[in-house]
Amino acid sequence: MGAKIVCCHECDELVKISNPHREGRFKCPNCGNLLFMHKEGMVERMYALGISALVLFALTNYFPFLSFHVAGNTSHANFFTSSIYLFQEEQFLLAVALMMTTMVVPFIRIMLILTLFGPLYYGYLPRYASVSLKLLTFSQPWAMLDVFLVGVFVSMVKLIKMGTIIPGTSLWAFMVMVFVMAGMQVTLNPHPIWERIEEQQKRRKTV
């Protein structure tokens, strides 16, 4: 493939990229914004990260991430319990926000990545690829697992004087998952997939 022209979405500069299939970062010459990052093996890496994220997600939600002992009483917290208690207190806004940003949106993103990159890994472009990519773009700012991790640390310090805090199995899985999710964010480069979608559309039109 030859040169292509990209429009910087920060400053509207038209950038001619003579060799878009060179590995590396492509930056806007005007404002320095990262246009995209090309790296070979993106599909394979995304598929691998997607599978590990799904396994870690299951682990994180199955086991409690923190246990708390005070005077013979024990309570466990996992991702469901905070939302459920908030629902019981009729704090619906908080409950929904907590559930969406820490469970629903990350899970949807993992499933989108698996259903998109799974078929791509086996050399087949699914029909729903453009919908998946669109949803991945829109849901990106609303997955806040990394922020939640900081929240876990803060509440650990907050409670440490009241009783004994025991980090659960899923805290470790959760910490790894935060890094896996960040890795997915960095690796994801939708441009080559959009190009494949365009080729498929052209082929459909000619046939």
Binding site: C7, H9, S75, S83, L94, L98
Partner: protein, 211 residues
């Protein structure tokens, strides 16, 4: 060469270049590749951003004044606002946690609002100065936006952990709701702002000033 001068725009979802005919303003055009609506600039970007910034300033007041959570023990109910939480950590010597909470729930939202207001005013005055710095400021608002959620999550985790059937319970306060709204509304405000507007005014002034 900028895309707007060439009559082109990029789809904000798939970054496809689309030609926007000038005479067809007001007609809804969709991207041929992904089917998403395309615009030269985000429509009514400045108005929407101003409205959301105003809304979050209003929400920010009760978020700080009302308690984030109520802690019920045998000794009675204790209510904590954001500031009193920070002060508690300072008194007990957990400076790091005090700093984390102070930065996440006070500095981050205020910085974001100030940056957005500055960007809005400078764009409305067609300012051509410090474009690179303003672009960096906008990128900063997008990065730091979600980190103010920390305090809301802490409330959620505390509720889940301190739950011993009647002895000691923690309830979320009204302030937490307002704080959540501040975070969400400022995030939407930053998304509504179109960074391309920073680069739109022509640099005639600078050329004239240079003689």
């Amino acid at each position: 060469m900028r895309a707007i001068d060439a009559g082109l725009t990029s789809c904000h979802v798939c970054h496809q270049l689309v030609r926007l005919p000038k005479e067809k303003t007001g007609v809804h055009l969709v991207c041929p590749r992904c089917g998403e609506e395309v615009h030269m600039r985000k429509p009514n970007s400045i108005q929407f951003t101003w409205a959301l910034v105003m809304a979050s300033i209003i929400f920010y007041i009760p978020a700080n004044l009302l308690p984030m959570m109520h802690v019920q023990t045998f000794a009675g109910t204790q209510s904590d606002t954001i500031i009193s939480g920070v002060l508690y950590f300072l008194e007990t010597g957990s400076y790091l946690i005090a700093a984390v909470i102070f930065i996440a729930s006070i500095i981050v939202p205020i910085t974001k609002l100030i940056i957005l207001i500055y960007l809005l005013i400078s764009v409305q005055h067609k300012c051509t100065l410090h474009r690179h710095q303003r672009k960096k400021l906008y990128a900063l608002t997008e990065i730091i936006g979600k980190w103010s959620m920390v305090d809301v999550y802490v409330v959620g985790i505390m509720i889940a952990l301190v739950h011993f059937g009647g002895l000691t319970t923690i309830e979320a306060g009204e302030g937490a709701n307002f704080f959540l709204l501040v975070v969400v509304v400022t995030m939407v405000a930053a998304m509504q702002f179109d960074p391309k507007l920073i680069w739109d005014p022509k640099e005639e002034k600078e050329e004239n000033a240079g003689y």
